[in-house]
């Protein structure tokens, strides 16, 4: 087990961040926790606890959620940088309100993640 209060607190906040990213992706797509539970087999209360950072998510659960939300697993782990193409689009899109611009770029990034997820799907 880890030693020292700092790394324990650090790890807690990592679970919190992971949960927050999962909740934000779910809310972005407008999926209810119950819908996610029905689709993944993860109980709704567990989905809620994972999003609040009070329950750990195992790798199979994370893969199921990532697949449902059409984001790469690395995104939820905080390892994903915005794609260079989306950064280029951001530079080109300057005459929008901040929120409009944020929505357009977020959607463009989501489309890219979703395309990558499609390409990585196992072929049967």
């Amino acid at each position: 087990m880890t030693a020292g209060g700092d790394s324990a607190a650090g790890e807690e906040s990592e679970w919190g961040d992971l949960g927050r990213r999962l909740r934000e992706a779910r809310e972005y797509l407008n999926l209810s926790q119950q819908f996610v539970a029905d689709k993944t087999g993860i109980p709704r209360s567990a989905v809620s606890d994972i999003e609040r950072g009070v329950r750990k998510v195992d790798s199979l659960e994370l893969r199921k959620l990532a697949r449902l939300y059409m984001h790469p697993v690395g995104f939820f782990l905080g390892e994903q940088e915005p794609s260079p193409e989306v950064r280029a689009l951001a530079r080109a899109v300057t005459d929008l309100t901040d929120q409009d611009r944020a929505e357009v770029l977020r959607f463009a990034q989501f489309l890219r993640y979703s395309a990558e997820a499609e390409r990585r799907k196992p072929r049967r």
């Binding site: 449902l68 193409e85 899109v93 409009d100 929505e103 489309l111």
Partner: protein
């Protein structure tokens, strides 16, 4: 590119799209959201302060259409059809901020914007769909702004866009259309149901007539169905329990001018009815001579949000 050229191009492109995407042009409203999905384009609704919509088509990614779900429902559909136009016409990423521009500004649009806008009109309002809508109203052409408003509800299109499209279909002349364009939908709605003070400016008023037999209406919370009485005190035979029959007494008290005979029955769609469907049966509508009850169905839709569900697996 002139608007005439844009419309020629778009008319053809929209007809091809109808064919490719399996749209039945004779059965309005055209299901533009399903068509976008069938075209392989990811559809997302999000609240946005100013944007109407966006079409994203970046190399190495997948195409998507983003729609501002704060717009009125018909404007969301029009925006979706406009963005589908960018996709079908292979325009590449487009961000559309001002699709409601006045005529003078629209005249300055780029060729791509004109083509997409014309595509949107022809996609949602092909001749067959418009004639089917007019048939429900018992008309061969609109004769007044009220006819265009009622037609726009059946087509699921904004009033102004419907007015503007009439000359393209040779259903009204430009001078007539210019006058109709100056009539506000709010004034038309108030005239259709003068007895009710609307809670929402966006809510629509559906005046029911004999041609509505067998029709499926897509309604939204706050919408009202006005059923003429034809001399009967209770013209509504049967309706779902979730439709609210507005009290007759308060309606009569608010009538703006004295009328003979019972007031029309008004059914209101409550916010709690989102997702509900049901059948309405009404009797002996005015000026019809029909003795049999007339039946039509209603489906209540709410504000779309997030990703179109077909993309979730």
């Amino acid at each position: 590119m002139t608007w005439l050229e844009a419309h020629r191009l778009a008319n053809l492109a929209a007809a091809q799209a109808h064919g490719d995407l399996g749209i039945d042009r004779a059965a309005p409203p055209v299901d533009v959201y399903r068509a976008i999905g069938d075209a392989g384009v990811v559809l997302m609704w999000r609240p946005m302060p100013r944007q109407f919509g966006a079409y994203i088509a970046e190399p190495g990614s997948r195409p998507g259409i983003l729609i501002n779900n704060g717009l009125p429902f018909a404007a969301q559909r029009q925006t979706a059809a406009h963005e589908l136009g960018h996709h079908r016409l292979r325009h590449g990423t487009r961000l559309d901020a001002d699709l409601d521009a006045p005529a003078a500004r629209r005249g300055l649009w780029t060729p791509e914007e004109k083509a997409a806008e014309a595509f949107g009109a022809w996609f949602l309002m092909p001749r067959k769909a418009v004639m089917a809508g007019l048939a429900v109203l018992g008309l061969d052409r609109p004769r007044a702004p009220e006819d265009v408003y009622r037609l726009s509800l059946l087509l699921g299109t904004p009033y102004l866009a419907t007015v503007r499209h009439l000359p393209n279909l040779r259903l009204a002349s430009q001078p007539v259309v210019a006058a109709w364009a100056r009539t506000s939908p709010a004034a038309i709605k108030a005239a259709l149901d003068p007895a009710t003070k609307p809670e929402s400016r966006r809510a629509d008023v559906w005046l029911i007539g004999t041609g509505f037999a067998g029709v499926n209406l897509t309604v939204r919370p706050g919408d009202r169905l006005v059923i003429p009485s034809a001399g009967h005190s209770e013209p509504v035979h049967d309706c779902p329990s979730w439709l609210r029959l507005l009290p007759a007494a308060s309606r009569s008290a608010r009538r703006s001018r004295p009328e003979t005979g019972p007031a029309p029955a008004v059914l209101e769609v409550p916010a709690t009815a989102i997702g509900m469907t049901g059948r309405v049966a009404v009797a002996n509508l005015a000026d019809t001579g029909r003795e049999q009850p007339l039946e039509f169905s209603v489906k209540v839709e709410g504000r779309p949000n997030g990703i179109a569900r077909r993309w979730i697996s």
